[in-house]
């Protein structure tokens, strides 16, 4: 077995370990989900054998619960972007820390959505007909063919980002920014495009006036930006309660704020649509009438849509008012109301009225069959199970429980603020121990610096030579000068030592005070105040100097934090 294979085996074993080992509550949760998945799989076997006849879909209403859930889940996936924008465009640290959970949610939601599509296909085994090269995807005219591309592309982007960052954290390395940042930035417009294209699948059908409204894509985005974050807030609180992972309140507050705006826009767009249909009152009003009032005595969806309406409006006010938005109880109620409200509004409330009345004016009322519900529950459970496992892996990597044995110990990056590498001056001049004091003095004057690291032949720091060391050397023969000036110019730690010699190695202060590149500001301030030194050498993992943080650098950094 090669070393690499061994490493991979180790990673997989560690991964399985953190994914599947847990407390009693975890096993209960997994058992419930597995039970639902098995029931759903059983239901699907029946559907496979009997055909979609087991659903309540018919020629009049040819899409139902499966496509409703598909549409809703694509929205949830697109909402991952709401973590990426504040994290990467505005460097909001509290959200940057949890952005991976948004990406994993996108991955799980897309896979779940794809399963719903498969459940809806009459001939799922022919899915490959839709694949480029293998099959014959209908470019450029079929929106659905495009939708498959953007869906899978979005899945790929988020999977790549999550895996890449996770793998680097596992090895204790920093992800390469110039490689991953373009991918992250690409995923922002891709998310908007993903949901827009999904809206266009319905939007482009002139035969269905209920969908054939230009406002459909904007409404899709607005409702996705409510339901996605609502789900995330619920998930984050569960993660906070059931794991040791810390999620800051201000990250949740930010999401809550986004929900308030998005829901305002969503309700506005809905009102605009209702006005247009009811005021002009053409034949195109019929589907909306069916949805909100019932049509010709058919009104099965009416209680559902009004439940959604009230849930969305109450949820909106809970999020609008800061007092209820910032209280966890009301916040959670609001999240659940909005999640349920949008699920109805954008699921069955969007798909079914598209078919009622049908294109020949017939009304066939659709409510999912028991098997459709069972299969759908199974697919949802699959999504939840997948997300549970992915989130557990992400937390384990983040907390350093899943880590390559040779990786450096996890930095405690709990606190925010600049690190040594952000504030240090990178222009480092070094000297060897053999350098003469005359040469060192010239260097100090030439570069207008007051200290210089002394390195060995391999470039590793062995000490620091400062102007104080040189002055001390000059005056140590004159005890009265030492007496007079000692307290002013000398680091106290070396005051007692007797320094004489003519090379850097002989008079330098050793060992030098060093800090790693990742050291937070706090760790830089402490030695300067405690040891009364003027500068810290910043070193890489091999103890080679990469920068210097002087007192003035720290003053500047502090000024930046609290202006």
């Amino acid at each position: 077995m090669t070393k690499q294979m061994k490493g991979q085996m180790l990673f997989i074993r560690g991964l399985l370990n953190v994914m599947f080992k847990g407390n009693a509550l975890f096993y209960v949760w997994m058992s419930v989900l597995s039970g639902l998945i098995i029931a759903g799989a059983g239901g699907y076997v029946i559907q496979w054998q009997e055909g979609l006849y087991i659903s309540n879909m018919r020629d009049q209403v040819s899409w139902g619960l499966y496509i409703s859930n598909f549409t809703f889940l694509v929205g949830v996936a697109a909402a991952a972007v709401l973590l990426i924008i504040p994290a990467y465009l505005y460097s909001f640290k509290a959200i940057k820390k949890i952005v991976v959970f948004g990406e994993l949610l996108a991955v799980s939601a897309i896979l779940t959505a794809l399963l719903f599509i498969c459940a809806d296909f009459g001939r799922p085994e022919r899915f490959w007909h839709a694949l480029p090269f293998l099959g014959s995807p209908n470019f450029s005219s079929s929106v659905l063919a495009w939708d498959m591309i953007v869906l899978n592309g979005y899945l790929g982007l988020n999977l790549f980002i999550a895996l890449y960052i996770g793998y680097h954290r596992y090895h204790g390395r920093e992800p390469k920014k110039n490689l991953i940042l373009p991918v992250i930035l690409l995923s922002i417009p891709w998310a908007a495009g993903l949901h827009t294209v999904t809206a266009f699948v319905y939007n482009g059908m002139a035969a269905r006036p209920f969908w054939n409204a230009s406002i459909l894509a904007p409404r899709f985005l607005a409702s996705a930006f409510c339901s996605g974050p609502a789900l995330m807030i619920i998930i984050f609180q569960i993660l906070r309660k059931t794991t040791d992972f810390k999620i800051e309140n201000k990250a949740i507050a930010k999401l809550a704020e986004i929900i308030a705006y998005a829901m305002a826009i969503n309700l506005f767009l809905m009102g605009v649509e209702i006005f247009k249909e009811y005021y002009s009152a053409t034949h195109h009003l019929s589907p909306m009438q069916y949805l909100y009032q019932g049509l010709h005595g058919h009104n099965q969806l009416v209680p559902w849509i009004w439940t959604a309406m009230f849930a969305n409006i109450i949820g909106f006010f809970l999020f609008l008012i800061p007092a209820t938005r910032n209280r966890l109880l009301t916040l959670n109620i609001g999240c659940m109301l909005i999640f349920a409200g949008i699920w109805i509004e954008k699921g069955m409330g969007l798909i079914v009225p598209g078919f009622i009345p049908d294109t020949l004016g017939e009304i066939y009322e659709y409510m999912p069959s028991q098997l459709e519900v069972i299969i759908s529950a199974g697919i949802w459970a699959f999504g939840a199970l997948l997300y549970t496992l992915l989130a557990r892996a992400a937390i384990a990597i983040d907390m350093g429980r899943l880590r390559h044995p040779e990786a450096p110990p996890a930095a405690h990056d709990e606190e925010e603020g600049p690190r040594a590498k952000d504030i240090m001056s990178t222009k480092v001049i070094t000297v060897s121990p053999e350098t003469t004091i005359e040469d060192v003095s010239k260097l100090l004057v030439m570069h207008r610096i007051s200290g210089i690291p002394v390195v060995d032949s391999k470039g590793k720091v062995i000490g620091l030579l400062s102007e104080s060391d040189i002055i001390f050397r000059e005056i140590h023969h004159e005890p009265h000068l030492v007496e007079k000036l000692g307290d002013m110019i000398l680091p106290r730690t070396i005051r007692a030592s007797d320094r004489s010699g003519s090379t850097a190695g002989e008079i330098m202060t050793s060992p030098a005070i060093t800090a790693p590149e990742e050291a937070p500001l706090k760790d830089l301030i402490r030695p300067i105040t405690e040891k009364k030194i003027k500068r810290i050498i910043i070193v890489d993992k091999e103890n080679r100097p990469v920068g210097i943080v002087s007192r003035i650098d720290i003053v500047k950094a502090l000024e930046h934090i609290a202006p």
Partner: protein, 297 residues
Amino acid sequence: MRKNLSRRSFLKISAAGLCASALAGCSKWVPDSEFFGKKFTEMSPQEVQETLRRLEEKYTKKFGLPFSVTAEPPRENTVFGYGLDLSRCIGCRRCVHACVRENNPSRNTEIQWIRVLKMNKGGFDLEQADQYYSPEQVPEEGHFYLPVQCQQCENPPCVKVCPVQATWKDADGIVVIDYDWCIGCRTCMAACPYRARKFNWKEPAIPKEELNPRTHYLGNRPRMRGVVEKCTFCIQRTREGRYPACVEVCPVGARKFGNLLDPKSEIRYILDNFRVFRLKEELHTEPKFYYFFSLGA
């Protein structure tokens, strides 16, 4: 230890359940040459012939009577058009049943390619129409009848939305479906403004004595569960120069059919001499199915 045990047994049970359901699901289906087959439009002439022979053999064996499956191509200089005389139609639905006998749609889900709408006189509101009328006698007082089937659009929205190019408009204007390529996503059904497309919600079943063994690959050959089908202007007949079954059977001569490119055809006579309209013209689908009125009162 206890933790370990529960985890192991839990995993075992779920794995076993999943395997069992997967096996049960697959037992009825094994990938075969049909599964790996090519799309009809991409087959070489030889592959088409091989496919037709394979299907004939398969259907003959399955249904116990000799089947023929052809793939007669469109005729030169031909675009088919259909005329329906609303002033003559009495709503007897003989066309519906002749179509069923001709085209082998499933009987257990009662797929019918033609739907006849009973309309209220004095208007044209589809929402007021009744498709399920069954009086002792037709026509009924105060009503007229609007038969609707695939309109063979010049700009077919169903073709536009199909994600896998399983449906297309052939040179003679007939919109056809490759049943072996359709994935059953039903997007075409959502896109069709005329409810022309029907889905095989379950495995089709047809009594042996009602089967029509003279079939066309893109037309009335037996279909399978999970695919979409629709009127093809009786492609198996019309490409051989015969009338569609519905035209032949109509007792009042309300149905007319012919080549739009032939100035001497019946359909051209109708277009030249009557005022015609097409359903939902505002959608720009450009149907080749023309409604007209030959009688006054």
